[in-house]
């Protein structure tokens, strides 16, 4: 977490943790209104800054998902290739069996 985001988080968390006590200390309605407005602003500032960090990483997420999908396709292709070889072996096996049967009939 960057220093700026960390500072916004600490400020917001301090106000959240102590909001009830801070409201109690306000002596006028205007002071309470100001405190609530400041808290709303602190909340929004922190949330916006946090979302910006998330958004900055979106390109990496997209790239990783693309790479993972490519890896999945490649793995499935490889598995299919192995299964195909097993199929070829089965086909050869069948051919040998038929050959043996023909040979025995000829004998």
């Amino acid at each position: 977490m960057s220093d700026a985001l960390d500072a916004l988080k600490e400020n917001y968390f301090y106000l959240t943790d102590n909001m009830d006590d801070l409201l109690d200390r306000c002596q006028t309605v205007a002071q309470k209104q100001q405190l609530k407005a400041d808290y709303q602003q602190a909340t929004l500032s922190f949330y916006q800054a946090r979302n910006k960090v998330f958004q900055a990483n979106d390109a990496n997420i997209t790239q990783a998902v693309t790479q993972l999908k490519a890896a999945q396709t490649s793995l499935q292709k490889m598995t299919q290739e192995l299964a195909d070889v097993a199929g070829i072996l089965n086909a050869i096996s069948t051919a040998v069996r038929i050959g043996t049967e023909l040979a025995s009939m000829a004998g």
């Binding site: 977490m1 949330y47 998330f54 958004q55 998902v65 790479q67 993972l68 598995t79 096996s93 040998v96």
Partner: protein, 292 residues
């Protein structure tokens, strides 16, 4: 034993070559099997880790939803003001970001499944069955030069060929998968403080609202807080409704603070464990790639 009969000598030589070939095949097969076994173990670990990652993001998405609700309660109960919807907008954006990361975890899980299929027993069983079938057909040819040892070697050779193909494919794919898993782990580490801040935010809000409800609104039943002292004796508290003594309210407020701190600390430990799992599985897959 000295063998002078040329036919017997030829048969003996063939048997000896057959045994040597069988031994070589056995060692090679064992080596290939080890790679597949390690690959399968890595795939299973990747499956577990991707499931944990997906559950982690799913939980975070729920936490953001709870935070929106807590903000509404805070506005109405503590501030006696209408809820500022721009806060909900920001949290909904956060939720969308987390949903993208959950998609990443899902993609990781799909790769784990495909990786397990390549390394796994089902594929090996198909290949083994096909190779055995081929060997049996050769056994049926009684006049095949070399006698009965040859079909067995042919069958094993076919099986080995496929095992080695699979081993090579596992090695080829493992390096790329290891790199992507490492990238996911690096991203998780970079964003871990953000995830923890989402959890802390929810707990701190809930904690502050709960303390307010206990201390100011006086609308909380405090008797459960006394249960640890009374439950062993099958007793229940009989606290005056809506007017519990101040010392009980202070006690419960302290308990709320202590438990919220504990939950924040537990969540950080969970995040660390998941981060370690991602890095460990990346290294486990990298080892499959480097195996010769």
């Amino acid at each position: 034993m000295r063998i002078s009969d040329p036919i017997a000598s030829r048969i003996h030589r063939r048997l000896r070559y057959g045994r040597t070939a069988a031994l070589l095949l056995l060692f090679a097969t064992l080596s290939a099997c080890k790679t597949s076994t390690e690959g399968l173990a890595a795939a299973n670990q990747l499956t577990r880790t991707s499931q944990q990652l997906s559950a982690y993001y799913s939980d975070l998405i729920s936490q953001v939803q709870d935070t929106i609700t807590l903000k509404q309660i805070q506005a109405e109960v503590m501030f006696e003001s209408p809820f500022d919807t721009s806060i909900a907008d920001q949290l909904n954006e956060t939720r969308q970001e987390l949903a993208q990361r959950q998609s990443l975890a899902t993609a990781l899980g799909n790769v784990a499944t495909a990786y397990a299929s390549l390394a796994g027993a089902n594929s090996a069983a198909d290949i083994g069955a096909a190779a055995s079938g081929l060997a049996k057909q050769f056994e049926a040819i009684h006049k095949l030069p070399g006698g009965p040892a040859i079909p067995d070697v042919v069958g094993k050779a076919a099986e080995l060929l496929l095992d080695q193909m699979r081993e090579r494919k596992l090695r080829q794919s493992s390096e790329a998968i290891s790199n992507v898993v490492k990238a996911v782990g690096t991203l998780f580490d970079a964003e871990k403080p953000l995830y923890e801040s989402i959890d802390s935010d929810r707990i701190k809000l809930a904690s502050e609202i709960a303390r307010h409800l206990v201390k100011k609104e006086n609308v909380v039943d405090l008797t459960p807080a006394l249960a640890p002292a009374l439950k062993p004796f099958d007793l229940t508290a009989n606290m005056p409704v809506n007017q519990p003594p101040d010392k009980y309210r202070a006690l419960v407020a302290e308990e709320i603070t202590a438990r919220s701190n504990q939950q924040i600390s537990d969540y950080a430990a969970t995040s660390d464990a998941l981060s370690n799992s991602l890095m460990a599985v990346s290294e486990q897959i990298a080892k499959v790639a480097k195996r010769h």
